[in-house]
Subunit: 310 residues, 2 copies
């Protein structure tokens, strides 16, 4: 059954048909009230949802329509990476104002790009009009043993993938109208660390979270869930070129992974496998649950990224 | 681990903590990047997403905050009913403008009510600020054999649960400022027909869809997916008291079920079991795929409900 024949007439369904045509084989089994998903025998299903809202997570002009679609989808998939899950499907719920209708297929191309690089089919969705563009992406993955926030133990080493700090600088530049800042790509094109997360879980990682609220904010979430505290060493934070460590610690929406491990992880093996650094940046310790201390930086007032207080 | 200790500080997380406290035991295992869901061995997972957007699907003042939360969640769960699936979890993604923050817990109560009557836990979510209130609900269910839109065959009987037409009248009344119309409850408090759907599937139903775009619009979807046409008999449409059949045929967001079956279904048994009528309203026939004819009513211009053209 093709998309042409699955839905009745109407402007909403014409738009959905246009999306399905654009996605081609990336969109699988669309057309029923719900999508049917297969989870490999013995594995658990994990599910998460993430929203990207115009005026809150991005502004028109900051990102191209394609980048808006890509970034929203990649950010949602990053939550599966944090669980070390393999993606099995995504649902895309779009609120598309009339003023954005002309860009719908470009947005779809970005969603498709993120799905393609993550090898995950688009399994359904929903579309409505509204005042502001928003993309709400539900993601499903499967995993034998999910990597949780709560698995860290005192004594564990703390690692971060890649480098951080580019997103906050890109945001500042864009807020000042400097669309082509050197950090722009870090904001516009995050890569969900899906394969990296599965490898880290295989190496014995005990807990993980993706850096969406900022390294300190997310370290707090992980520490709180694990009933421990975390000490980070400012000198070891892998900052994006030209970014100060205090900014790197606060920068949200980086979508790198913060992971803990009882035994050392071979960072060279990680780097050669994924062409990405893996850096030991601190330790899990006994102490007040949820506390994060940073050695070597004045960060008393560094708050995590917080959409409501932005 | 309680909600108190799972998340770090911040206004967004305070709001999430307040929601979790309000939901109590209805919210299960929240606090990781993704929720882990169990699907009974041998069953398939089905997933769907639905959005309710202020100014598009509802207006402030039409519904109480509690009703807004209830209705958005019930509408999403109705998609699982259409697949004859048993709900296993929901994810709630909220965009909450500052002007709605004071009503957040009442909205949560409505979401909780819909979850409670459907016996489904709230397994996660997401919250952000924005210009208009929106609720995007992802629902997951499990089912041994999903009931699809595509299973109808020529000769099948067509049934509808309950009665239809109240929603369109309630909408008209509310648009004219008559908040307390006699049909209001039909709009504000739809019941997802979850148990009914499973029973109908056990009785041999061949295809189903929930009535969200209007009886004619949804019959077209089902007919198109099944490669058949459908003839409805206007005289048999179970209209809500005081509603004309042409309105009943066009009324969207009813969340009743349109089902097909090769053999007759015992409507008396259905009615006594669920205290709800089940009515035979037409036949699946050979013909142009997706065509819907109505005998005994002038409905040439009856369009399905369409969010984009409203």
């Amino acid at each position: 059954v093709t998309a042409e024949t699955q839905l009745g007439p109407g402007a909403e369904f014409d738009a959905i048909r246009a999306l399905l045509e654009r996605w081609g084989p990336l969109a699988v089994g669309i057309g029923d009230d719900a999508a049917t998903l297969a989870v490999p025998r013995g594995e658990q299903l994990v599910a998460s949802v993430d929203a990207a809202v115009e005026g809150r997570h991005f502004r028109r002009g900051w990102l191209s329509p394609r980048e808006i679609g890509y970034r929203a989808t990649a950010a949602a998939l990053s939550d599966l990476a944090a669980m070390a899950a393999s993606p099995v499907g995504i649902l895309v719920s779009l609120v598309v104002p009339d003023s954005w209708r002309g860009e719908l297929l470009e947005i779809a191309d970005g969603i498709g790009e993120a799905a393609r690089i993550s090898s995950v089919p688009i399994r359904g969705g929903n579309m409505a009009g509204g005042e502001a563009l928003s993309l709400t992406t539900s993601v499903f993955g499967s995993v034998f043993t999910p990597l949780l926030r709560s698995g860290a133990k005192p004594g564990d080493r703390v690692y971060v993938t890649g480098s951080v700090g580019g997103s906050i600088h890109a945001l500042r530049a864009m807020e000042q109208g400097e669309a082509a800042s050197r950090w722009r790509e870090r904001f516009a094109h995050p890569i969900p660390r899906l394969r990296e997360a599965r490898w880290l879980a295989e190496q014995g990682a005990t807990a993980a979270i993706d850096v969406s609220d900022g390294l300190i904010g997310d370290a707090r979430h992980l520490a709180a869930a694990s009933g421990a505290c975390i000490t980070l060493d400012a000198a070891n934070i892998p900052c994006v070129d030209g970014v100060e460590v205090t900014d790197a610690l606060a920068s949200g929406e980086e979508y790198e992974l913060l992971v803990t491990s009882a035994s050392p992880i071979d960072a060279d093996a990680f780097a050669s496998r994924f062409a990405l650094p893996l850096t030991e940046i601190g330790r899990v310790e006994r102490g007040t649950s949820g506390d994060v201390r940073v050695i070597g930086a004045r960060v008393a007032n560094v708050a995590g990224h917080d959409h409501f207080s932005r």
